[in-house]
């Protein structure tokens, strides 16, 4: 997956939740949105990108992706048949 596009998508989600005054709620909101709407191969790619420094990711989505990273073992391997 094009990582620049995924970074943009994650930041866009982050921008919506940035209005939320409670940071924890905002981070959970972003993580939950990505969890519920992104195919696992997209989540895997953004998690891998975040592990490598997360260039381009804003602060809130970065925190949300870190939250997803903790669940990453649950993700199936995309393309494993």
């Amino acid at each position: 997956m094009n990582i620049e596009n995924l970074v943009k998508m994650a930041n866009d989600i982050g921008n919506f939740f940035s209005a939320e005054p409670d940071r924890t709620v905002a981070v959970h909101g972003i993580a939950d949105h990505i969890r519920r709407f992104w195919d696992p191969r997209m989540r895997k790619a953004i998690i891998a990108h975040n592990r490598e420094g997360g260039v381009g990711l804003n602060e809130l989505p970065r925190a949300a992706i870190a939250e997803l990273d903790n669940e990453a073992t649950l993700l199936r391997e995309a393309g494993d048949g």
């Binding site: 997956m1 005054p21 519920r36 709407f37 195919d39 199936r76 393309g79 494993d80 048949g81």
Partner: protein, 948 residues
């Protein structure tokens, strides 16, 4: 189904008070306000009439429906005489008969006596009335002045106007005014000289006529007649079905001769359209039998190979083998499918079932992705259900109508006419749109406020309205605190109250004067029942979902939800957008909007379908393209959708399609996507299959087969064959069995069946034990999610910014005569009205660039470039240009970008920064497109010769 509807003569009275009278010695009790004509008709007494019909207010001009009332003077017209308690009416006696015969004699003295060769022969009210009054002679002869040589107007492609046959009953004029609201027809002249005139003595094509067909339907003679009837003769039977165009979902009678459609007539009993229609549904059905239809399956190894015509069995087996090969090589998640809003509920249900059960993944999506997916998200999050809250008829109880990002008179014309009727009755109107759409100012309709905002600033505008409502104390706190989550309401109030959300602060963003926003907000909050109607001008933005949420917030904060006359009303683009979403076409949801990760729901489907189902969401359409380009998505089954034309950033879409190893297209025509396909499975038009469509008001309506499928199979049968070939058995024998399965698995459909649809005509879901006949208005006592949820709607400017290189904003939309990608309407005479997509540009912007009306102009964005002809108009504001997207060679989506809604990836079609320059030749993309299209056409032609 009877060909001719029973005509009560005048519309029904809505009064609850009943009145009893006597007609020809029979007692009859009817609502107060009912005409004597209608009261008589209700007990089977047919008073002769010509100018009266029950779709129009009475006019009292023909003098045929005269009656005698005991104790009354003279012979009053029964159509304009209301019933009264104890009234005694005589409808037939010597005196009445004499007067009626005299009237008929005058009519016939100026009417051609060509009944045997007349197109209305067998269906002519004048002929019927002549018989009814016993006309036996016409004493006046034809020597005097008459209209018999009046010239015919055949300018309209669909109907002819023969003024020689006109009896000047004014039904057509009144239909144009009352039913359609266009006011294109007038009665010109006085007395004997009076005649029906389109516009100002123009032809129909030159006039403002929108070809809705209301005048043709109202005409009691052959004066206004469908050309198909003139050509083929009167139909002999009819079947009620549902239109396959926009989200209004009009009910029609397909009037037939054998298996040939003679005409489509709007169904008077249709619950969405009440007997009205538009130029598409009424007339543009000829595509179904167009010569471009492909009626035999075809396969090919490469998209540069000629097509090979094969049997259904070979095509299905080839497609199944390819999908299996791809999954074996690249993994289970490397294939997927797309459904379309042009498919029935049953078809989309089967496609998503095939993906989940036979492919074993959730890679299914639908074209709602690129139109109303933000509606599904936004309304689910706030109200608890991914659907509009009202019935269309609800607008007749609205006091304030706010239209934002929608153009109902073009996109949803029949509903647009209903809305205009309510506005003529006095409802106030707020329009929020960058363009001067027709509703802003048209005959007898004028917006009280036009919020002419800059494209991409909806959220700032909605926040500003919310700011006024909250800070001025106009919110309905009692409703919001009781019906919604109090904490979310308080948080939202604090957010919108911030100064940065005030109209004064947002004026620089939206371009709408603060005082206009304040006045509009005041009207919305205090003007009585206030209803919001919105369309793709709301959803197709990077903040599409945010605006939908903002709209729901406004409705909840003002208590404008949960009763008739109010609500949040998404005007769905295509006929079955609502239905395709309901049926689980999204990759994260099972039918009934339940997430795939929900264990209980998944277990229910696993048990019913006998397979283990995937718990992770699949790929959405744009993600499929991305995955195709990175090599992890290789096979696509695409039913009824044309992504190669309709989806944004065309070059990206085409590259993704080229990257796939097997693209299976099921469609009526070799559409743009099929040019990239390896398997073509011929589809069936809506006239060739059974099923249901669900319109924008959640109304499930039957689609009935009126002719056999040209290719031999209905679309659901094709999906079933493919599933069986993939190894997942499906054994439905009729779509009603599919609906029965849906009813078993989707709570909101629990009470839906074909038997009930036949009985009730249509059903608005939820339909279940609690609401066995359906639910016109949602969220009445409580929201579907329990308490309504306010959400914060921060305005985030789109990243698609203007610059010195791209100084203009391009926005896109549709036009009345064409539909979506145009695959259907381009193959009808509708192209007479719109034969090419044009770029609308403000004269000021045009002058700066040396552009004249009709010049070829290049439109260049960060994504690509195309060339269209320019139309100079002040409908668009300076700095904004506009085009439609109905013709593939226009390449409107070559320019649009991959920006999309943050929540759903719905593309941002409505905002693209562009530069416009005068040019002399097509763009490079257009040259390549023509070359590729010609190659594909040639490969199709070679198929013909191979087939012998």
């Amino acid at each position: 189904m009877a060909l001719r509807d029973y005509d009560f003569g005048t519309p029904p009275s809505q009064s609850d008070k009943m009145v009893t009278l006597e007609i020809d010695g029979f007692s009859v009790t009817v609502p107060e306000g009912t005409s004597v004509l209608r009261a008589a008709a209700s007990i089977g007494i047919h008073i002769p009439k010509l100018c009266a019909t029950d779709s129009l207010e009475p006019f009292g001009s023909c003098r045929l429906c005269l009656v005698q009332i005991e104790g009354g003077r003279g012979l009053p017209a029964s159509c304009t005489t209301p019933v009264a308690e104890g009234m005694k009416v005589c409808t037939q006696n010597e005196r009445l008969a004499k007067v009626r015969r005299g009237v008929m004699e005058l009519y016939i003295s100026d009417h051609p006596l060509d009944c045997l060769t007349c197109s209305a022969n067998g269906n002519c009210e004048l002929q019927d009335m002549a018989g009814a009054v016993g006309l036996r002679e016409v004493r006046y002869g034809y020597e005097g002045e008459n209209h018999l040589k009046a010239e015919k107007d055949t300018s309209n492609p669909y109907f002819a106007f023969d003024p020689a046959k006109c009896i000047v009953c004014s039904r057509c004029v009144r239909a144009c005014e009352e039913t359609q609201g266009t006011f294109a027809l007038t009665l010109d002249g006085r007395g004997f000289d009076s005649k029906v005139s389109p516009g100002q003595n123009q032809s129909f094509m030159e006039s403002e006529c929108v070809s809705c067909g209301a005048c043709v339907q109202a005409c009691p003679t052959a004066t206004l007649m469908e050309k198909t009837v003139i050509e083929k003769g009167q139909p002999e039977h009819s079947i009620v079905t549902t239109c396959a165009y926009c989200g209004v979902g009009c009910s029609f009678k397909a009037e037939m001769k054998g298996t040939e459609v003679v005409r489509m007539v709007p169904n008077k009993d249709g619950h969405a359209n009440h007997g009205h229609s538009c130029v598409k549904g009424r007339f543009a059905f000829g595509y179904a039998t167009h010569k471009d239809r492909i009626t035999a399956p075809m396969i090919r190894k490469s998209i540069h190979d000629p097509w090979r015509v094969v049997s259904w069995e070979e095509a299905i087996n080839y497609a199944a083998a390819e999908f299996k090969r791809i999954q074996a090589k690249y993994g289970r998640y490397s294939v997927g499918a797309l459904t379309s809003s042009r498919c029935t509920n049953e078809e989309t249900y089967l496609v998503q079932k095939l993906v989940r059960a036979a492919f074993g993944n959730n890679n299914v999506d639908t074209c709602a992705r690129v139109c109303h997916s933000p509606t599904g998200y936004g309304l689910k999050q706030t109200l608890g259900e991914s659907a509009g809250t009202q019935a269309f008829d609800s607008v007749m109880k609205a006091d304030v109508i706010m239209v934002i990002g929608a153009n109902p008179t073009d996109g949803h014309p029949v509903f647009g006419s209903i809305m205009k009727r309510r506005i003529r009755e006095g409802a106030k109107l707020i329009v929020a749109d960058p363009r001067d759409i027709d509703l802003v100012k048209s005959p007898h309709v004028k917006a009280d406020y036009h919020l002419k905002l800059r494209p991409g600033t909806n959220v700032a505008l909605i926040n500003a309205m919310a700011h006024v409502i909250v800070t001025q104390g106009l919110a309905n706190d009692a409703f919001a605190m009781e019906r919604c989550e109090p904490a979310s309401y308080e948080k939202w109030k604090a957010f919108v109250s911030e100064e940065r959300n005030s109209p004064e602060a947002t004026e620089a963003i939206t371009g709408v004067p603060a005082e206009t926003v304040r006045a509009a907000a005041l009207l919305y909050a205090t003007g009585g029942n206030a209803a919001i109607y919105y369309g793709l001008g709301v959803t197709e933005h990077s903040q599409g979902s945010t605006t939908v949420i903002g709209i729901a917030n406004l409705a909840m904060a003002t208590g404008n939800i949960g009763r008739e006359g109010v609500g949040v009303n998404p005007l769905r683009g295509q006929n079955n957008v609502q239905g395709s979403c309901d049926m689980g076409s999204f990759p994260h949801e099972f039918p009934g909007y339940r997430h795939v990760s929900d264990f209980e729901t998944r277990s229910q489907f696993e048990s019913a379908w006998g397979v283990t189902l995937e718990a992770e969401p699949g790929l959405r359409i744009p993600n499929m393209f991305g995955a195709a380009l990175d090599g992890s998505f290789k096979g696509l089954y695409c039913e009824g959708e044309d992504i190669a034309q309709s989806d944004p950033d065309t070059q990206h879409v085409h590259a993704a399609l080229r990257a796939m190893e097997c693209v299976v297209v099921q469609d009526l025509f070799l559409n743009e996507t099929a040019k990239f396909a390896h398997v073509f499975l011929p589809g069936a038009s809506f006239l060739e299959k059974n099923g249901t469509f669900t319109n924008a008001e959640r109304r499930i309506s039957p689609v009935r087969k009126v002719m056999p499928p040209l290719a031999g199979y209905e679309d659901w049968e094709v999906t079933q064959m493919l599933s069986n070939a993939l190894g997942y058995p499906m054994n439905y024998s009729h779509p009603s069995e599919i609906m029965d399965e849906i009813a078993r698995l989707v709570p909101a459909f629990a009470g839906v069946s074909y038997e009930k649809l036949d009985r009730l005509g249509s059903i608005q879901w939820p339909c279940n034990e609690k609401a066995p006949n359906g639910t016109p208005t949602m969220h009445v006592d409580q929201f579907v999610r329990g308490k309504g949820r306010f959400m914060l709607t921060e305005y985030v400017p789109t990243q698609e910014r203007t610059s010195s290189r791209y100084p203009l904003i391009l926005t896109t939309g549709r036009i009345l005569s064409q539909y979506n990608v145009g695959a259907q309407t381009r193959r009808t005479m509708n192209s007479v009205w719109h034969s090419e997509d044009r770029l609308e540009i403000h004269p000021h912007d045009a002058e700066q660039r040396g552009i004249n009306d009709g010049d070829w102009v290049g439109i260049k964005s960060r994504s690509g470039e195309t060339v269209l002809r320019a139309t100079l108009t002040e409908r668009v504001q300076p700095g904004v240009v506009y085009t439609t997207f109905h013709f593939p060679e226009s390449g409107a989506n070559v320019i649009t970008t991959d920006n999309s809604d943050w929540a759903t990836n719905c593309p941002e079609y409505k905002v693209t920064a562009v530069q416009v320059t005068k040019v002399t030749e097509p763009s490079e993309w257009q040259r390549q497109y023509r070359q590729f299209s010609e190659e594909q056409r040639a490969l199709l032609e070679q198929r013909s010769s191979a087939a012998g």
